[in-house]
Point group: C2
């Protein structure tokens, strides 16, 4: 009997946990990604704010494939799926499968606002994070030799859209970067000249958190000097302006967008029913209706639990990856698959140095303790001993020295401004 | 009396040592570079061969300016110098000076061979090193799904031109990367399929070394599996071929060029007498004839000592930087400047794991001891405690695990092949 092949498209948290669970069970497991590494996305904002080098949050997939029996890696961009022919279509040829796990993740959702899509920064890839870091540092270089106060103010104004964890963490980290590090690097620039404006359409930040933690986060950010504007929407932008829903305009060269995510483009090319944000509707066991050999997991998948769609976040993806793997192994044994159920272990967000919020099983944490929990859990989930050591070293260094080493303007295009 | 301004163009080893020496003497010291960091060029080849992350060999100039009294940094590309008007011309305006230190370093010399200039890789910047690493890893990705043996062989053939320290170190590190790391990452590719050809026009490698060390290096490289071709010249290239002086052609997608350096372009734009390689002829005290307020140092400067021009290497640049600083301080005190004299402390090159050659004050070292000396000296000269720790950690990790973590294909352009 020929060995059956499972193809997993996407090496984020979902794809990776599916592959890990499937390895060593006599199946051929082919991991496909357009990058040759798994990216620890929750720490991208620290790369963008010069706290971590990009290499410390990326881990080569082949280093995992080596250790996982039956697993192999294939670098390639997924163009689509031939569901009838059971083939994953790559730019450089097709890959046939017996089982397919689609875990291509998400893209930023600009809700059709083209001017924002063209001018905003987002954080999905290492290149995004490196580009944003270069952009921020280059603005400070320009500001310190700009004599005109208005132009100078525009260079030093940063608008962050989205009061979820990404927006809160980025705004907090950017504020700390400017107050503790850049203020010393650029003595010509006053801390008071730098503005960070965090914009949220809802009535509060971190809407997934309990009210008291939301209020703590809001108060903490404001104490740090971040301007928070609630019930406010950004509706347009060009390279030097940000437009708001009430018609006001702010001069700023930096619009950071974390106000929405949608399923990866691949979801649109499958020709199957989709829900909000383009997510693919899946059966309770995460397989595709009519295609029990195809599973869709993570940000790409739409599944309702207790009346609401499951959120697009790493723990859901990781649990779904394991579930899809178990479903495939069950099919191979001729058993029934089980419906997926998400076990919510909690949520957290860090605001700044020694300040975070966390909620788990009804317990609420804030401040230093929450920050320690955040730190330990992120280290724990980071892959690879060396990466953990690198990140820990960077954090310890920053904690004690208030210094961020990675404030480098890299890349051929940006070597001068 | 107004404070006098010293402008230093270029933050390599020369410019940096001049700035360090000048700081704290009541002068305004403006450091100019097109990058916002000092780059430790001797370790670029380790970034290119996935041994170090780029951030660990770069150090922000502003972190130094903070500590050096009277020092400031200005990011900018130098367009030229108005010697009569005493202004350094930057893309974004002019910078007037009382003293000027030109330390713009060197560029790769392709000796007018345009096909090589277009297709060869070289190592002058972080972007070069990152690009070369991405290129090498992408070739392995392509090779492991290439069915045609001839095309596969071409993908896995690497031609390194230049038997100086850079060529030897890169060839050795690339061989170790393929034998110890990539052979395990790409089980589809056989180590025997990978060819690394080191080409040198002279009769031996490392011509600056004593004969027994040259022979040791040659034997060691050959034992490691590097093909060394002496008295051979590369005369042309396209994206898939390398042409040799005897008319033979090798199919290869990678031509690495370290066979020549010339003074940075800036030297051509000064309108002053130049020597071989475009280097600027300087007076014995390193100043420009007729312009005692302008000093030219490092790779840009041509000065003959004991009958031969000083070599283009870091120790010469660093010593000249200090000398130029002392000459400026002497002028300020109304004293005579002294002629520069290079104190040769030795030379070294590493070939591979536990294998290097070094010569100092007539003493010759090779093998493990030379390798340890190489390692300690490079750590010592690397700037910043954190960078030292990062590099040491990477080296220790690689030494004990035979693993290189940074084998990432990064950058927007290269995310698929």
């Amino acid at each position: 009997m020929a060995i059956k092949r499972v193809v997993i498209a996407g090496m984020g948290f979902g794809g990776l946990s599916a592959a890990k669970e499937l390895a060593g069970h006599g199946l051929e497991v082919v991991m496909v990604d357009r990058h040759n590494y798994h990216l620890f996305q929750p720490l991208l904002y620290q790369v963008a704010t010069a706290g971590l080098e990009q290499e410390s949050i990326a881990y080569p997939v082949r280093a995992l494939a080596r250790r996982w029996q039956g697993a192999a890696f294939r670098l390639g961009e997924v163009a689509g799926v031939d569901l009838a022919g059971r083939q994953l279509l790559l730019a450089a040829g097709a890959l046939s499968y017996d089982y397919l796990v689609l875990a291509a993740g998400s893209r930023t959702n600009f809700f059709g606002m083209e001017s924002i899509e063209r001018h905003a920064f987002d954080l999905k890839s290492l290149a995004d994070a490196e580009g944003l870091r270069n952009h921020i540092l280059t603005l400070f270089e320009r500001a310190c030799r700009e004599p005109d106060p208005a132009r100078r103010a525009a260079l030093l104004t940063f608008v962050v859209v989205g009061g979820g964890p990404t927006g809160v963490e980025f705004a907090g980290a950017l504020r700390e970067l400017t107050v503790h590090v850049l203020s010393r690097d650029y003595p010509e620039v006053l801390t008071a000249e730098t503005r960070i404006i965090l914009v949220e359409a809802a009535q509060s930040l971190l809407t997934a958190m309990p009210p008291e933690l939301r209020e703590y986060a809001l108060a903490r950010l404001r104490t740090m000097g971040v301007e928070v504007r609630l019930e406010t929407r950004v509706t347009g932008a060009d390279s030097e302006h940000v437009m708001f829903h009430d018609g006001t305009v702010i001069e700023s060269h930096t619009l950071f967008w974390s106000a929405g995510v949608a399923a990866a483009d691949l979801a649109d090319r499958l020709g199957v029913p989709q829900a909000g944000g383009g997510r693919v509707k899946v059966s309770p066991d995460l397989s595709l209706e009519g295609h029990p050999e195809v599973f869709v997991i993570g940000d790409m998948a739409h599944l309702v639990q207790d009346g609401t769609p499951l959120p697009m976040m790493a723990p859901v993806a990781a649990q779904q990856g394991r579930h899809a793997a178990h479903a495939i192994l069950a099919r191979e044994r001729g058993e029934e698959t089980q419906p997926f159920r998400y076990h919510d272990k909690g949520a957290m967000a860090t605001i700044g140095r020694s300040a975070a919020v966390a909620v788990s099983h009804g317990l609420k944490f804030r401040g230093y303790l929450a920050w320690l929990i955040w730190l330990l859990l992120h280290l724990y989930y980071l892959i690879g001993f060396r990466n953990r050591l690198l990140v820990l070293m960077n954090w310890a260094y920053y904690y004690f020295s208030h210094e961020r080493q990675v404030r480098l303007i890299t890349g051929e295009d940006r070597k001068t401004e």
